[in-house]
Amino acid sequence: MGAPGADGAVPAGAGPDVLLGEGGPGATLDLYGRPSWARRTASLAGWGACMLATGLIGVPLIWVIYGVAGRAVPHWHWSVITETTTSTGGGGLANEIAGTLVLMAGVVVLAGSVGVLSGVYLAEYAKGSLGSLLRSGSEVLAGIPSIVLGYVGYIALVIGLHWQFSLAAALITLSLLTVPYIAKSTEVAMRQVPTAYREGADALGLPELTTLRRVTLEAALPGVTTGLLVAIAISLGETAPLLYTAGFTDNMPGLSLTHAPVGYLTYAVWTFYNQPSTAFQNLSYDAALVLVVLVLLLIIASRLIVALTQKHTESN
């Protein structure tokens, strides 16, 4: 801000100061006075809105955790995680837990690698109209309802390729669903890496892949991890596409990628609840609790990973 009147642009002493208002440079402001009524109201309203919004997230979260734990804990038995489901509703959820974990790991590997690489491509190489075409394509894919993707997976993989209900069909469908999220968050995170890092690497003559791996991706890791986290949470929580592709079984998941259905936790939440036997209904609550705990563990683990790998970055 320049001094008013220095170059005659703003004539000094000609009525109220145009730049600083009545009374010149803050002359009338009382340092110890209370802020005006209007300012205090606006400030209060702003704070209130923020608190309300936080409450709208926090209260349902606590409610869900309380509701799930409150129904599952009283009849909790460790056999829930050690035994497989039986047709009478006895036994536990070992096969569903294992199935969900296998699906989760598969999504991390398949959608993780495809998503991160396409995010890198979108951020670093896809310029111009090709770039915007690819970006819109990815957004369209993200907008397709999961049950539609599930149906596509059913027609193309389960029926078309004769894979039947299987791990491979479920994995590919879930990956299709999650790749856009991973790609988007990777792209955004890569774009936020300071140009100075890239220029420093260029000036040192580092090969492109080294720069990518050691400098830009490293700096973008928190954003990439967030995308992966969302993807994993989706693969934990999705039901609709899995109904069409994974099927369901009481058996532990095996090694075969095709022709063998997979059990998973959300199926238990969804179907066991409607069974007439209390044993099944209890299992349904147990499955919900296990899902919530898995999500919490996942978040803690990802925070730890980010903290450990980010000890050399600017934000630390």
């Binding site: 890092y197 000036a203 040192l204 003559g205 080294t210 050691r214 000890k311």
Partner: protein, 276 residues
């Protein structure tokens, strides 16, 4: 220990050797031939002819927007990636065109290093920063890494301050120390020309003095080109000074002559502070 840069090839500067004779002995490191460059429809630099003499410090001065940083960045082709960049004319490094088709950017930048205005350490440990270029260019084997890190950090006077935290984040260092680290990183790949883009503009006076002393100690083993807004700095450390104004090279002369007896009126107005 790996040897710290040995100034064996070029003789130290001696006051009684006329500059022209010395320049003849050392020769020209980089030669700029009728260079013009710009971005899109804007022409930033035009009609540039300049010889950067080997083993000397050449200072580039001029008002903001005069094109000196853009010029510096054309010496290691850092402008290439800027959108809509174009150039005419040529730049030679030891007689070979750096813009010729087939010129290898990696090789060029290994020979022509750069330190930026703002310190920009990589998000990796202090030691890994020094070794980034060493590893990429396969300069030495793993067994030498420790020695290289120590030698390079000693070279820039940072060893005592960081020897016990080589695996810490470079962002725990002060701005001046980060800049010294970047200098060490650039020196670690053994460049023959070092480009400094206002390297001390964000630093305190003591660190500035260190870096100036360092730059002086690098010649004549290295050739240094430095962009600076600090006329005193150009005067203190450079052998030759080039004055840029509005995208043109107005004058290039021995530093003492350019400051005390400039040929062009614009130069005189700038170095005497009548034009900022």
């Amino acid at each position: 220990m790996t040897s710290v840069r040995a100034p064996a090839t070029a003789a130290p500067r001696r006051a009684d050797v006329p500059a022209i004779v010395e320049a003849g002995i050392r020769g020209v490191s980089m030669q700029v031939q009728d260079l013009a460059l710009g971005f899109g429809s804007a022409t930033v630099l035009s009609g540039l002819d300049l010889e950067v003499r080997r083993g000397e410090i050449t200072a580039l001065i001029g008002p903001t927007g005069s094109g000196k940083t853009t010029f510096l960045r054309s010496l290691n082709r850092m402008n290439d990636k800027v959108a809509k960049h174009w150039h005419r004319g040529d730049v030679l490094l030891n007689g070979a065109s750096i813009y010729a088709p087939g010129a290898q950017l990696m090789a060029l930048r290994r020979r022509v290093g750069m330190v930026f205005q703002r310190p920009n350490p990589f998000p990796m440990s202090i030691a890994a920063n020094i070794l980034a270029g060493v590893k990429a260019h396969r300069i030495a084997g793993k067994e030498h890494y420790r020695d290289i890190v120590e030698a390079r950090l000693r070279e820039v006077g940072l060893w005592d301050a960081v020897s016990n935290r080589l695996n810490s984040s470079p962002f725990s260092l002060s701005g001046g120390q980060q800049q010294l680290l970047c200098l060490a990183r650039a020196l670690a790949i053994g460049p023959e020309v070092l480009l400094l883009d206002e390297p001390t503009s964000s630093l305190d006076p003591v660190t500035t003095e260190n870096i100036e002393a360092m730059a002086r100690s690098l010649v004549p083993a290295l050739t240094v080109v430095i962009v600076t807004h600090n006329l005193g700095q150009a005067r203190r450390i450079s052998d030759r000074t080039v004055f840029f104004y509005q995208g043109k090279m107005v004058e290039c002369a021995e530093t003492a002559q350019l400051f005390e007896d400039p040929r062009e009126p614009e130069t005189a107005r700038y170095v005497t502070g009548r034009m900022g």
